[in-house]
Point group: C3
Chain length 200, copies 3
């Protein structure tokens, strides 16, 4: 049980919380919120594995992910009351989650012998498409396409990871640097209201 | 041609009717209604097979499913006029369909050597995600997340099936008990306005 | 590098333009428009390959598709200003694209030994589902289900192709005839306001 695995489970749990919270706001019932939590948590990695033919998808044979999602499900209902305070911590947790999911997505793809741009693409897909599915199923235009430079942060973090990996053999350092990149870009973009759009 | 296979085709046809009817109400054209009917009928099993890597998906190589869907397509247009009366029968038919789809989804998953919770999950996915895709494509928030305890009924039916299967070797009995469970839960939940939600 | 391959890339580029243009109108940011362009361009073929178990999906190992999509991305922003004039040419280009995608989808499916109706279905899926995903992700009811006889044109073109292929050994002739069929049906349907709907 490495720290990377622990953060992976942590990110899964955080993603589940984000999905369940969104579904509660939309007045879904107990089953609906569970489904949305599940889809948000595993959706990105699932799409990646489908496209790569890496089947059956990994989380099916790992009970830990189920437990992490159930934990997130319970936590979301418990902390629903203190939503505002909670959202600030969630921003931090969520950023940690997408940063690691980007790197893990890249590593999975590279092991299958794919080219650099496919690795980057699959990194972003792993990190972002859980949220896209969450928003599509709750009938929203996916948030990441409009408001935050979420996907860009993942792309930049993925590039940092791949570049560093060519010179530095220590995986922990490369992952750490990628995560820091994602965090800093998201932090400053939200702080200063950055957005990427050419026409209003 | 067993009775299970016949109910399978029957359920496929009923699901197609439900999809086509929804699409007609949304003013889709003849092609659009066919697509939605198709997606509703095979969507759940398709998602299950994708996640499990059980490819190519089964209905591609079975002409009977195509015919069942086309029959549902025609019936939906014919019976559109008597929509109200029709809806009551549809409730019954639909419940029979999801009950059997749950069990068949569980059996497919178990044959691939998956754990009990994955079997249950795939049972619910098989039964419910056709409807989720129907609602997503017609731009609705999926019904099963808001109004009915549809997925819960499938989950309960799936549990009954798996529990019974450990003690009773007669498949027909186990399937029958699971279907009765799904039916009773749905019937009483609609009758008495049950719903599963913690906050309004 | 045959002319079929060139039209394939051309169609990919045109589909990307259509996706990016839609996303710009919805005020997506630079990343969002890229994602929608990507999904529109490869979505149909991806769904076909997923259903058939033809994995990893083909475009992952072909850099040309990435370049065609990036070109479409840039062109969409450049030509955004002259949208109206542009739309007329796009209609022509788009029709060429779906016609070829239908045929290529059929050929891919036939190579995997599928039956005639599965080939036709996969041809239509290849040509149309990129647009369906584009509309679903941008929270619209898919256009092809409501307004144009888009899918019908693909179906007719696919039938022409399969029929001709049984008598004529020259692939270019069969593809050409199928493309002409798709083009004529779409042209006259838009011209004369044809639509396929039984009830208003």
């Amino acid at each position: 049980m490495t720290w990377v695995y622990l953060i992976d489970l942590f990110g899964t749990c955080v993603f589940a919380i984000s999905g369940v919270t969104t579904a509660i706001e939309k007045k879904f019932d107990l089953v609906g919120t569970l489904v949305i939590g599940f889809v948000t948590a595993v959706g990105g990695g699932t799409l990646r594995d489908l496209l790569l033919g890496n089947l059956p998808v990994g989380w099916l044979s790992n009970r830990d992910y189920f437990l992490a999602i159930l934990l997130g499900y319970v936590l979301a209902y418990i902390f629903k009351a203190q939503a505002l305070e909670f959202k600030k911590s969630m921003f931090l947790f969520d950023t940690v989650g997408i940063a690691l999911f980007t790197v893990l997505g890249i590593e999975t793809t590279r092991k299958l012998g794919m080219s650099v741009e496919v690795c980057l693409l699959m990194g972003v897909v792993s990190a972002c498409f859980g949220g896209v599915l969450r928003d599509t199923l709750t009938n929203e235009i996916p948030l990441i396409f409009r408001k935050e430079i979420y996907a860009t942060a993942c792309l930049a973090g993925g590039m940092v990871y791949l570049l560093l990996a060519t010179v530095c053999p220590i995986r922990a350092v490369n992952i750490g640097a990628a995560m820091a990149t994602v965090f800093l870009i998201r932090y400053f973009s939200v702080r200063r209201g950055w957005s990427l759009r050419l026409w209003v």
